[in-house]
């Protein structure tokens, strides 16, 4: 025995001692759904594409985004970004400016001419899409990527629907709109303009379509009866905005315009009137707080010089003056007339009281049901009562935003795809929410949100130039990196570093980590120190 004095055993390694047997609970990696993704009406994987943008791989970020939404440059401008109100970073300093990064990616893709090329092999199925608004465009895009032959018809002279005829240029430049629509067409979608379809079942049969998605929107303006002489000029918001796009001359609005209503469309018209040189006023029967328009729209309108008259109803229209009645909010929260009247000098009234769906074409189809509020009834999978006919966007019960419409288009496309294959579409089950409480905010450094430059106020009042400009690369990268990656591992190596037992295995870039349960004692430090809450401690079975 060749050993020193008093040594009888060979040197052994502690690796022989499987300390994992001490464990009473074990760590497991989880993916939770971040609040931004949870609220996104278009179902974007926001955290997922920000992850790529953080490393400067904008192409990968854009492609990831495009899996769910074909219109990032539009969406980055026109979406009301509910994601940002839900963003956990808002509880730390300010929410990630998700829309600004989305827009940066969208603009970059247009500038670089990026195209989507990966498409499923042709299925041999044909789908008719009616309405080239956000919903129809989104459905066409997803159906085309799924390998179906798509024909997209629109009754109007130009594609885009409310994105063109509802959202003013200063919020959405037309080059951007055209570029993103062009990319969908480039995917092989056949676009037929000035094509109104009055008999859908017949059109499907004649054209040999296997399914149809209808999304013609809601563009019948609601009206009210207001006593007025014949000569009084009363217009509706939808036609004013539409005229801006199609007319040779801008609409005749006169010198002083009253816009009646308190929604986003009312703001759009008032701001448009202001830009056309008119004096613009908004009359709304309730208070500012009760306005359905988004706060920032009202604020921007006010900054641009739009005058607001809250708690007023229009009672009588004369050629150069309007009579309005003061209102008060009753105990039930509804406006009550006070019997007090005022006169406002104005020469044009624009009604912005909301829009209704033209159901004449659909309601006459067998099995299609119209709901009590005049929209088309669809099932979970967006299908109407007529087999193979799906509907979405503003014409079905919804929040009526561009993003909701885009989401409908995607959802319908995926359901149509399953229906055409004789299956039913089963969305992947959602993970639990990545709440703020699950984060360890210590690890995130302070970094307030980058402010998007706003066009100076004088130019905003007089021109139709876009009022918000985009982020440059540095800003976009900075902004993307503010993302906390809520509930999804971003490979910060914390678990790998903090384990006193070296029981975390690093799998390499992009591959995340694994636990070595032979040695993990279940102390839970990794879970406690995970910045983004992507580790759960699960009790071991007895």
């Amino acid at each position: 025995m060749n050993k020193p004095f008093a040594i009888t055993l060979d040197v052994g390694s502690s690796l022989a001692n499987l300390t994992g047997s001490w464990r009473t609970s074990k760590p497991v990696y989880v993916d939770r759904i971040p609040p931004c993704n949870m609220t996104c009406p278009a179902g974007e994987d926001i955290q997922g594409w920000l992850y790529h943008a953080e490393s400067g791989d904008y192409r990968a970020a854009w492609e990831h985004l495009m899996r769910e939404n074909p219109l990032p440059a539009i969406m980055g401008r026109a979406c009301y970004h509910t994601c940002e109100s839900a963003c956990n970073r808002g509880q730390l300093d300010t929410a990630v400016s998700i829309h600004a990064v989305e827009r940066f990616l969208g603009d970059l893709a247009i500038k670089e001419g990026w195209l989507i090329t990966d498409k499923a092999p042709p299925t041999g199925k044909k789908v008719l899409v009616i309405g080239a608004g956000p919903s129809g465009l989104s459905a066409s895009y997803h159906l085309a990527r799924l390998g179906h032959a798509v024909t997209l018809c629109d009754a109007g002279p130009l594609p885009g629907g409310m994105m063109r005829f509802g959202i003013p240029k200063y919020r959405l430049p037309r080059e951007v709109l055209d570029a993103e629509i062009g990319r969908i067409v480039a995917l092989g979608v056949e676009l037929k303009l000035n094509t109104k379809i009055d008999d859908i079942p017949k059109a499907m049969k004649d054209g040999g379509y296997d399914a149809c998605f209808a999304a013609v929107g809601a563009h019948l303006a609601k009206r009210v009866d207001i006593p007025a002489p014949d000569a009084a000029r009363i217009l509706d918001a939808v036609s004013v905005l539409r005229h801006m796009e199609t007319g040779e001359e801008p609409p005749m609005l006169g010198r002083r315009v009253i816009v009646y209503g308190g929604g986003n469309t009312a703001m759009d018209v008032a701001r448009t009137a202001k830009r056309l040189g008119a004096e613009a006023m908004v009359v709304y029967r309730r208070t500012r707080e009760q306005m359905p328009a988004h706060d920032f729209e009202v604020r921007e309108a006010e900054e641009e010089g739009v005058v607001m008259h809250w708690l007023r109803t229009v009672k009588q229209v004369d050629e150069a003056s309007f009579t309005v009645e003061k209102m008060t909010i009753g105990a039930d929260g509804w406006p009550q007339p006070t019997g007090e009247f005022e006169t406002i000098e104005a020469d044009t009234l624009v009604l912005a009281l909301g829009q209704e769906v033209d159901t004449t074409v659909l309601s006459k189809i067998d099995g299609v049901k119209v709901t009590r509020d005049g929209t088309i009834q669809v099932d979970q999978g967006m299908m109407t009562g007529y087999p193979g006919l799906f509907a979405g966007g503003d014409m079905v019960p919804s929040d009526r935003t561009v993003t909701v419409a885009v989401g409908h288009g995607k959802k319908a496309a995926r359901n149509i795809d399953s229906w055409l294959k004789g299956a039913s579409f089963a969305p992947t089950p959602r993970h639990g929410l990545a709440t703020f409480e699950r984060l360890n905010p210590w690890y995130y450094t302070d970094a307030p949100k980058t402010v998007q430059p706003t066009l100076d106020i004088l130019r905003r009042r007089t021109s139709f130039e876009e009022i918000h400009s985009g982020l440059d690369e540095t800003n976009a990268l900075f902004e993307a990196r503010r993302c906390l990656s809520c509930g999804n591992c971003f490979e910060c190596d914390n678990c790998f570093g903090v384990c006193p037992d070296n029981a975390v295995i690093k799998l390499g870039p992009g591959k995340r980590f694994d636990f070595n349960y032979d040695f993990c004692k279940g102390c839970g430090i990794c879970a406690a120190e995970c910045p983004c809450g992507a580790i759960d401690m699960v009790p071991e079975e007895k």
């Binding site: 971003f490 570093g497 006193p500 120190e529």
Partner: protein
């Protein structure tokens, strides 16, 4: 006293605060973030769940191994770190490692350094390490001699504030009011008495040695930077690492790093660096917390928070200790809020 030891990377997703960061250049990443780190203490050691000492020692020695190209020998005092890594005949150590007695680690290390010099291998560096008991009490004479002779040794003390290995007895590093087996929570002044104990980093500084630093398992980058720096210096060096002990402190095993962080953020454990007896840098508090935040999760301080009658006076005295540290080491300043 700016925070120079820490890399000035701002506005990344997590700044410099996580162990790794996939957005950083590889050479700027921590040793612990690397899949190739040496794991000076390998798995299978018998430290308790959530042991701060096992973690701190791996952090420090991996950094030292990286800094020296693995040419480093460790000499260990008796204590948990020695016991849980080397139950005969097993070892968890992945570097040449020696253990002699409880109180003589500094002297043995001085001897190893002399031997290396004699053998013409001065590139082999020597680290001595021990717990707070082995350092501030029984090993103090040997350590002071090592400092005085300016022997070429880096001494690292892993401070868990008591003699943990033998069942949580008080050491001269045990904080006031803490309950230990020898300072029980009984009588009208439960726990350790106020006004006793030693501050070893300050005593080390008084020897005028080239480098003294404090560090914590809650700030890995800072700890690695300090070990790395210490390895560039010849002569006697001292690093005092704060390592929570779930068993001895009566804290939850997952709270080890959190408690270390709260000790820093409350001001109770000042993190600083000194050269030749002068403080040259300190780590600013980032999110200041009252001492209660740190004390409450630990059962050794539970007697301060008895339901219905918290020990307001002695909590205030502990707060005064923190406030004095904040003042002395200038811990509250604008660069802390990053």
């Amino acid at each position: 006293m700016p925070n120079e030891t820490v890399q000035p990377i701002k506005f990344y997703q997590t700044g410099t605060l996580t162990v790794g960061n996939r957005l950083l250049d590889p050479e700027k990443r921590t040793v612990q973030a690397s899949g190739e780190r040496t794991n000076a203490i390998t798995s299978g050691h018998r430290a308790c769940q959530g042991c701060g000492e096992a973690l701190g020692a791996r952090y420090a020695l991996d950094a030292a191994m990286r800094a020296t190209g693995n040419r480093v020998v460790a000499v260990n005092a008796t204590g948990c770190l020695e016991v849980f890594t080397t139950p005969y005949p097993e070892t968890a150590w992945q570097l040449p490692w020696l253990h002699s007695l409880f109180g003589n680690a500094a002297a043995v290390a001085s001897g190893v350094a002399a031997a290396m010099r004699a053998k013409g291998r001065p590139e082999v560096r020597v680290i001595a390490q021990g717990g707070d008991g082995g350092t501030t009490d029984i090993g103090f004479g040997c350590l002071s001699g090592m400092f005085e002779r300016n022997d070429d040794v880096l001494y690292i003390c892993y401070d868990n504030e008591a003699y943990m290995n033998t069942g949580v007895q008080r050491s001269s590093a045990t904080p006031p009011a803490a309950r230990t087996a020898t300072t029980p929570a009984v009588g009208d002044k439960p726990g350790n008495v106020f006004g006793t104990g030693k501050n070893l980093p300050l005593i080390a500084m008084a020897h005028g040695i080239p480098y003294v630093a404090t560090a914590s398992v809650a700030d890995l980058r800072d700890l690695e930077a300090k070990v790395q720096k210490a390895m560039t210096i010849r002569g006697a060096r001292y690093i005092h690492v704060f390592v929570p002990c779930p068993l001895g402190w009566g804290s939850a095993s997952q709270d080890t790093i959190k408690l270390a962080r709260l000790a820093i953020e409350s001001g109770l454990f000042p993190v600083f660096e000194a050269e030749y007896g002068e403080v040259v840098r300190s780590r600013a508090i980032r999110r200041k917390v009252p001492v209660e935040d740190y004390l409450k999760p630990q059962r050794r301080f539970a007697h301060l928070f008895k339901a219905g009658k918290p020990d307001v006076d002695r909590i205030a005295r502990l707060q005064a200790v923190a406030d004095a540290n904040i003042k002395r080491f200038n811990l509250l300043r604008p660069d802390g809020d990053a």
